[in-house]
């Protein structure tokens, strides 16, 4: 009862204000270009106002609106994004609120279509996109913004956010693996081919004493991907066919095995500790390691993995993980305008610049790299270079069941000493079975 009264009052207020506000809306949106768009925006405002009167939801462009975004990442990074967006949208009275939710994929499965309790948008890596799209809980980004708004974004990042030709995720930043080396420990130049790298490792690794040249998580699919992609193999293709037993894959896994014998245990904590305690001269890792490395006081240098060439002539091609924001379907009905504003704000290069400066993230917006400070950041520029050869992780829903068999294959070959061919066949079967089970 109370809600209805509140809603009707809101509606009346809205209708009264739209007459004046409509023109104001046009004025403030002019900067974004395209009068046609703004007219549509104005129409939407009155539409939503009428809906507000009917449904009692009070979604008016002049009323304070909060858009809830769920995420499972670093709180400090999200804070940077939130601050930028909120500053941008102060005039429109839209605030974006980030909430951390551990186990986001499971939570979204439960709350995805829950308008009452669930979020309006979510911020996450792009590889789970397919899953959410198939569940039918996402609204395409293109419903809210146009290609014009996205023109500055790197094509690779937009591709990552697209599933079955519809774009669901607006990319904000991305990350790739990098070759991070200890400048004090590394002797001479960092080689340009993987074979030379291997030769260096042979000379400088002493497993008995516990000193290593290069360490990498050699049995984690994400970390072996540079080799896999470089050899032209794939874990799963666009038609959801697993590729664990292709010739290229066997080649890649065999090649990786050589390195694995010289890399120690290969788990995340061990690799980090070895590098930070200066027992390993280099580590293949991501930007998230850098704060720990700085704290350990290591004089580090960064090289892009794309600058290493495999014996077959192709460069290493790591996976890129694109972090972006998606919109839930029910938000399209209730908060379309607010969501659109948020998305537009995120397309701008200042968000990327702040992210790069504060948290060393590689922005998805190409213009952000023109900023002087950003261009001076070695790590970000290395990731920018890697973006040329990096491949986005497959975002098919079937990918989620591929990690198991792929990593079992690596573990079997690297840690249990099994024959590559037989293991590949076994796990390919397991993968096909797993993919089939999803239906």
């Amino acid at each position: 009862m109370k809600r209805k009264i509140y809603g009707t009052l809101c509606g009346l207020l809205a209708v009264g204000m739209v007459a004046g506000c409509g023109s104001q809306g046009v004025a403030s949106n002019a900067a974004n270009g395209g009068n046609v768009q703004n007219a549509a925006g104005g129409e939407n405002a009155s539409d939503t106002a009428q809906n507000a009167a009917e449904e009692g939801q009070g979604a008016d462009s002049a009323e304070p609106e909060t858009v809830t975004v769920w995420h499972d990442g670093d709180e400090s990074i999200m804070q940077v994004i939130a601050d930028e967006v909120n500053k941008e949208l102060e005039a429109e009275n839209v605030t974006v609120a980030f909430e951390k939710k551990t186990g986001l994929t499971d939570q979204l499965q439960l709350y995805g279509n829950d308008a009452e309790n669930g979020p309006d948008m979510y911020f996450y890596a792009h590889d789970s996109l397919g899953m959410f799209a198939e569940m039918g809980i996402l609204a395409p980004i293109t419903d809210f913004i146009s290609a014009e708004d996205e023109k500055d974004l790197l094509p690779m990042t937009i591709e990552a956010g697209t599933y079955q030709d519809t774009q669901y995720l607006l990319p904000v930043y991305y990350e790739t693996l990098l070759f991070i080396y200890n400048q004090d420990l590394w002797e001479g130049e960092v080689p340009g081919t993987t074979d030379e790298l291997y030769a260096y490792m042979e000379e400088h690794t002493d497993t008995a004493a516990g000193t290593y040249a290069v360490v990498n998580q050699h049995s984690t699919a994400y970390n072996v991907a540079p080799f896999i992609n470089g050899y032209g193999a794939y874990i799963i293709d666009e038609n959801a066919n697993p590729g664990l037993d292709t010739e290229e894959m066997i080649e890649a896994v065999t090649y990786n095995k050589q390195f694995a014998t010289l890399m120690g245990e290969g788990d995340y904590d061990t690799c980090n500790t070895l590098f930070n305690e200066q027992k390993a001269a280099a580590i293949i890792g991501g930007p998230w390691l850098v704060s720990g490395i700085k704290e350990a006081g290591i004089n580090y240098g960064i090289k892009s993995l794309s600058e290493f060439t495999l014996p077959n002539g192709s460069p290493l091609a790591p996976y890129s993980g694109v972090q972006g924001i998606g919109v839930l379907k029910h938000a399209e009905e209730n908060k379309k305008d607010a969501v659109a504003s948020v998305l537009k704000a995120l397309c701008k290069e200042n968000v990327g610049v702040s992210l790069a400066k504060e948290s060393s993230c590689a922005p998805a917006n190409a213009k952000s790299y023109e900023d002087a400070d950003v261009a001076a950041n070695e790590m970000i520029m290395a990731m920018r270079a890697t973006a040329e050869t990096a491949q986005p992780m497959p975002n098919l829903p079937q990918m989620s069941v591929m990690w198991g068999p792929a990593e079992s294959l690596l573990a079997a070959v690297n840690k249990s000493g099994e024959d590559v061919k037989t293991a590949a066949e076994t796990y390919q079967q397991a993968a096909v079975q797993a993919v089939g089970d999803m239906q």
Binding site: D72, G73, D74, E99, K100, K101, T102, G103, D106, Q107, L110, D114, N117, G210, Y268, D269, T270, N272, T273, N276, E277, K279, G286, W288, G292, E295, A296
Partner: protein, 281 residues
């Protein structure tokens, strides 16, 4: 000193030694966590063999108490735990009493049947309860969580309490029954005091379950400020890549401390009233 006394003293000394050793070995991982929480190094591993912290600092503890809403989480945990214990015990005591005192054929089968229900793998339970609670609008509500926790622990509480109630001879109640006491009075004045260790043990079990439960707590409660200690702790560590071991271990120690304190305090109440002599049969 008599020979017997010497033997006794020696025996006790050996026993004490065994226990000290046992406690130490059992606590090694905890000491490790403690040393991590007091050290300023970021990683969990190092090549030193030592349980002493590296770069002693209380910074982690300060961070937990000040930066994270630790006290709010503590309050939430306390509220949920107290609520669950009360609800669970209230339901179980009457039920256990009935199962213990009123005999009928098939009584044991019914109990066994209840116990077997525990065998269901829990992974899908949450999904089902989520759907149920969504229809009942019990999501994001403390009462909803209390109901879930109490329901999960009910079967065990009933079984446990019944076992203890069985050891209290019926004759004790006979006397009061003759005097015209109602069942409630029987329960309150005679059974409960005698079954104190049972009640306490079961309550502690429920308490620890609620205190450490994080899956339901983080799924059903939507706002970070309504999280329990376990939920907040879970969030601090969930990601391999963003975990800060110092913070994480400091939080774990702080989360475990209240339980230990409670446990220590209730020790003296664990002595059963039966040892005082009761009724000689």
């Amino acid at each position: 000193m008599t020979k017997r006394k010497i033997k006794q003293r020696a025996g006790l000394a050996v026993l004490n030694l065994i226990f000290i050793l046992l406690c130490f070995v059992g606590l090694v991982p905890i000491l490790y966590a403690l040393s991590l929480s007091l050290s300023s190094a970021a990683g969990a591993l190092s090549s030193r063999l030592s349980l002493l912290p590296e770069g002693f600092t209380l910074e982690n503890y300060r961070n937990i108490l000040v930066e994270e809403p630790f006290l709010r989480w503590l309050w939430n945990s306390i509220v949920l735990a107290a609520g669950t214990v009360i609800v669970a015990m209230a339901c179980s005591v009457t039920s256990a009493y009935a199962f213990s005192r009123f005999r009928f054929r098939g009584r044991m089968q019914a109990l066994r049947g209840l116990l077997i229900l525990n065998a269901f793998p829990q992974i899908l339970t949450m999904f089902a309860i989520f759907r149920l609670f969504k229809t009942l609008h019990l999501l994001n509500s403390r009462w909803g969580l209390i109901l879930i926790y109490a329901g999960s622990m009910c079967i065990f509480s009933i079984q446990n309490l019944k076992g203890y109630f069985d050891t209290i001879p019926v004759e004790i109640e006979e006397a009061s029954k003759l005097d015209g006491a109602t069942e409630l009075q029987l329960l309150w004045k005679i059974i409960l005091p005698l079954a104190k260790p049972a009640i306490i043990v079961t309550s502690v079990m429920v308490l620890i379950f609620v205190w450490n439960e994080y899956l339901f707590a983080t799924t059903f409660m939507l706002n970070e400020t309504t999280y329990t200690l376990a939920g907040g702790l879970y969030q601090l560590q969930a990601n391999d890549y963003s975990r800060s071991w110092g913070l994480f271990t400091a939080a774990s120690i702080l989360v475990s401390l209240p339980i230990l304190i409670i446990f220590f305090i209730i020790q003296k109440h664990m002595v059963s009233g039966l040892t005082a002599g009761g009724v000689k049969g």
